[in-house]
Symmetry: C2
Subunit: 228 residues, 2 copies
DNA sequence: GTCTATAATCGGATAGAC
DNA sequence: GTCTATCCGATTATAGAC
């Protein structure tokens, strides 16, 4: 995972990202460390999602996690390292959802499974999903290596599948990238714009039934829109 | 326009947002004021788009505009007021694009015109569009009044049109809000994720021809996906 | 491993000379 | 109307006692 990240100053090689978290001292109580790291990561996810990287402060994160600020800097040496740890979590989840595209040779099934998985990811991890979008909006200073390597390869491979489906008459003659941009944008929207959706829903967040209806409509629209 | 805004502390009524910009002194040279405000707004748009509200600094904005930092605070009393002025511009553009939905009684034409206008907006004003998305992602602290009033009314009226088209057998039985969320997300993507798209395009931004092809595919996918 | 105290810097905003 | 100098609270990060 570390190979995807570079430090925010842009000058680092993939290798030096090493461990963002200090190694545990011998004979430490692992439970305390695990709990403090968990609380800090959870608080960091909230604050980074609400305020963005620049607007987030380590003091606010430490306060929300219920640990002294100096403790935050003990577990995560810099604000940057803490942010990286948060982004790693959602990258893992993103890759897991991506795998769901490959469960079927039929484009309708593959697309339905992938769109559904991405919708579920936005619903289950809205804060992490928002951080992911914000990272991309800022020009991906932390995940450029991921875009250059894993994502580029992933898209290229799926473009081959799409071309095969087009040749087989199963899909319209579309550009696969444009399709993926639409899928990414639409599914992320259910994390990014949850507040706007709540406002337009009479002030209440979407309940599970409304979300499931939305998921079905999103899948149906895209699948019907690209199949021949 | 001012009635859409509230100050970021959340406690303000629409009335007190008054003039974010100082009134010109009598006998001032309007050209200097106009040029300084223009340079500051342009620089602010760049910095807010790159760093977010919290990450942007007035020093960086003043430096990019080529004016002393104290001058920024002369023209725009607070960072908040400068941000509000930037958001006002994109709100105006958003409303102009929204009007293009109402040019036809046929859903295919209305949707094509609106999606095309939103795509063109993202292409023509990518920085302002990104700020708009970031504002919504943060929970719309500055444009909540717009969401509560103008946007709520706009969506409600278009939902009526969509229901009419469904009843006439021209559209599938869809939820209009889910359709609009998809349109908003997909079109914004061409501003928000321009860097990611460039990476997947061999490092080069989309040229005009590629953008026009994407626009046609987005329109076709959505229109074909929702028409009966 | 924890946390109080503090260093060093940066941030928004202003005073007041020109 | 402009801009240098500066205030002062906030911010990241660390030192060092416990």
């Amino acid at each position: 995972m570390d190979q995807f990240f570079r430090s925010r100053d842009g000058g680092a090689s993939p290798l030096d990202s090493a461990r963002a978290v200090r190694p545990a001292a011998r004979k430490a109580r692992p439970a305390i460390r695990a709990e403090n790291e968990r609380a800090l990561l959870e608080a960091a996810e909230q604050v980074f999602a609400e305020e963005g990287f620049g607007g987030a402060t380590t003091a606010a994160i430490a306060r929300r996690a219920g640990v002294p600020k100096a403790n935050l800097h003990y577990y995560f040496v810099t604000k940057d390292a803490l942010y990286r740890a948060v982004v790693e979590r959602v990258l893992t989840a993103w890759l897991a959802a991506a795998a769901s595209f490959d469960g079927s040779d039929d484009p309708r099934e593959a697309l339905a499974a992938y769109i559904g998985a991405k919708m579920d990811l936005a619903r289950a991890m809205p804060l992490a999903s928002r951080i992911w979008s914000a990272e991309i909006m800022r020009g991906a200073p932390m995940i450029q290596d991921f875009l250059d390597t894993t994502l580029t390869d992933w898209v290229a491979a799926r473009e081959t599948s799409v071309r095969r489906w087009i040749a087989a008459g199963k899909l319209k003659p579309i550009d696969a990238k444009v399709l993926f941009y639409m899928i990414w944008a639409t599914t992320q929207q259910y994390a990014n714009a949850a507040h706007e959706m709540a406002t337009l829903n009479g002030g209440r967040p979407l309940d599970d039934a409304a979300f499931e209806r939305a998921k079905r409509q999103v899948i149906a629209t895209i699948v019907d829109g690209v199949t021949a």
